[in-house]
């Protein structure tokens, strides 16, 4: 495989301005984001609601045009169409022609993707089974629930056996069993050598699935890297449980040490970075508080994420 082909998706300095309404007022949604997705990995694109994940994916799918910057998939500019035979896309909250049945809509997408007549039927049945829709395959989509549409959306994205799959919030609308099933499906895609680009705001899924992540906050990439790097990076946190704290002390702790506090009955749980432990303990004791327990543990993606979102400082890269 050639060197440049290892990077399946390449986004360079994409800026996207929206012009809501008719005025000249522009709203910048993407502030020059850059990221790469490598061959065969599950890439998690993570960020809070409204941070620009869907917008980025729409640029990649050629649905909207970037104001500036460049994006390529498999070496093709995203404005081309022929290479899309190689990619699959699950839109956010997908919606399809409700007058068709599940089987018909998959047939329609298979034809559009150029799946040959001979392979179409078998492929559709196989997919319907994969996503667990075989029982509803011949019902019209108007009878489908949100979760069923989501499953159908995934089937539709895979109908032509693409090399790269883009999923926008694939777990939304699914029940816990559905989530597990889709998770397995994504892992199976990786095992088949496919590349998966996944938008999500559910960190648990990211931790479970993704090889690499990019964190986007307010249209800017805040972190991009391997999860192991991030989670196993030596960053540790310490939870201190204390009792008998006055409100003034709590405020001081929050202000001075950027600690996260949580009331647990009479007690207070204080989460701080490792290097702040001594200062925190000193502060608690000085205020006449009582230390109940001190626990050290590896930082979770969630808290990393939260600190990234709230802290505003750029980490990684």
């Amino acid at each position: 495989m050639q060197q440049h082909e290892r990077r399946i998706v390449r986004i360079e300095n994409i800026v996207k301005d929206f012009r809501p309404g008719f005025g000249l007022r522009v709203k910048r949604v993407l502030h020059g984001i850059s990221l790469d997705v490598n061959d065969g990995e599950i890439f998690g694109f993570v960020g809070p609601n409204g941070s620009g994940k869907t917008t980025t994916l729409k640029v990649l799918m050629g649905l909207i045009r970037a104001t500036s910057g460049e994006a390529t998939i498999l070496g093709h500019s995203v404005t081309e169409t022929a290479f899309r035979r190689e990619i699959g896309f699950l839109p956010e909250n997908p919606y399809f022609y409700s007058h068709l049945t599940g089987r018909e809509i998959l047939g329609f997408f298979a034809k559009l993707s150029g799946v040959t007549r001979g392979r179409r039927k078998a492929r559709i049945s196989e997919l319907l089974e994969w996503v667990g829709l075989d029982h509803a395959a011949d019902s019209r989509l108007e009878t489908y629930s949100k979760g069923m549409l989501q499953r159908l959306g995934i089937a539709q994205a895979l109908v032509h056996d693409p090399r790269v799959v883009f999923l926008d919030e694939p777990m939304s609308g699914l029940d816990p069993i559905g989530r597990v099933e889709i998770r397995d499906l994504v892992l199976r895609l990786r095992s088949e050598g496919k590349t998966v680009f996944m938008n999500t705001h559910i960190l648990h899924d990211v931790e479970m699935l993704c090889d690499r992540v990019a964190i986007i906050v307010e249209g800017r990439i805040r972190y991009q890297g391997v999860i192991e790097d991030l989670v196993g990076s030596g960053l540790h946190e310490v939870d201190i449980v204390a009792a008998n704290l006055s409100p003034e002390t709590v405020l001081e702790l929050e202000d001075r040490l950027a600690a996260k506090l949580r009331g647990v009955g009479e007690r207070v749980e204080i989460r701080v970075a490792e290097k702040e432990v001594n200062d925190t303990l000193r502060c608690v004791l000085a205020a006449g508080g009582e230390v109940v327990s001190v626990t050290r543990h590896r930082v979770s993606l969630e808290s990393f994420f939260l600190s990234t979102v709230e802290g505003g400082s750029e980490i990684g890269e």
Partner: protein, 258 residues
């Protein structure tokens, strides 16, 4: 070839969706009802009652086909974007041009089919009442079909970038104006102001000259006609549709589908 196959796939799906549209059946029902009512009305006249019967038939076919063309056409593209069905479709190896052409062809086939149903009733009523049917009638139907192709293209054009509400206004307006431009040009030509003359002449040139597709009067009267009375308007229609579709594609390709 692949491209045609994709256009056809979109077209057939559009047809399938349209034939499940209840509005279509309502309008088709009224169209057929008016054709049948022509039998009663024409009996009121002691002369040329077969002609009056056919006048009503032609008018019904035209009115109800145009109504379907506009009211289905204006939602054609807009609804796909609004309902976000377009996202998954355009992520497939399909250009926006192919998508739009497929939608256009699909709706046109739908409207031609429902027109064919009305034509069947027209022919049946004519046969039963002994009204004449000849090459002029065939020409008139061909030209109505051409007018419908233009109207669907107008509706598709507006649907590619504006809401169904506005698109209906514009499409109905253009349809009406398209039937007036000849008279307007003639009225303008008799004006003393040269700017009025040239403006009305320009409108006649630029707007679709839909009266050129109106051959029903000639057909119902059984007047003699030349082949060019038919093929020139057909050529004009093909040209006009192409221009509209190229413009629609140009606009649709530049749009952000958000």
């Amino acid at each position: 070839m692949k491209s045609l196959a994709r256009i056809w796939t979109i077209a057939m799906n559009t047809l399938r969706e349209a034939v499940r549209n209840k509005l279509l059946y309502a309008l088709l029902f009224f169209g057929v009802a008016v054709i049948l009512a022509g039998v009663v009305l024409s009996a009121l006249s002691y002369v040329e009652s077969e002609r009056i019967l056919q006048d009503f038939g032609f008018a019904a076919i035209r009115l109800f086909s145009v109504a379907i063309a506009i009211f289905v056409g204006v939602t054609l593209i807009h609804r796909e974007v609004e309902r976000r069905t377009v996202y998954a479709i355009l992520s497939k190896p399909l250009s926006r041009a192919e998508f739009l052409l497929g939608k256009y062809v699909g709706l046109l086939v739908t409207i031609w089919l429902q027109m064919a149903i009305m034509v069947v009733f027209f022919v049946a009523v004519s046969l039963v009442t002994g009204a004449p049917l000849d090459a002029g009638h065939a020409a008139a139907f061909a030209l109505i079909a051409a007018e419908l192709a233009v109207i669907v293209a107008v509706a598709t054009f507006f649907s590619a970038f504006t809401t169904p509400m506005l698109a209906s206004f514009f499409s109905i307006g253009i349809w009406a104006l398209g039937h007036m431009t000849r008279d307007l040009r003639d009225i303008g030509a008799s004006s003393i102001s040269e700017s009025v003359q040239s403006t009305t002449a320009l409108i006649h040139r630029v707007m679709p000259d839909l009266e050129s597709f109106n051959f029903a009067t000639e057909a119902a009267h059984g007047l003699a006609f030349a082949a060019s009375d038919v093929w020139l308007p057909l050529l004009y229609g093909v040209g006009y549709v192409s221009v509209l579709l190229v413009a629609a594609i140009g606009i649709f390709e530049r749009r952000d589908l958000r």
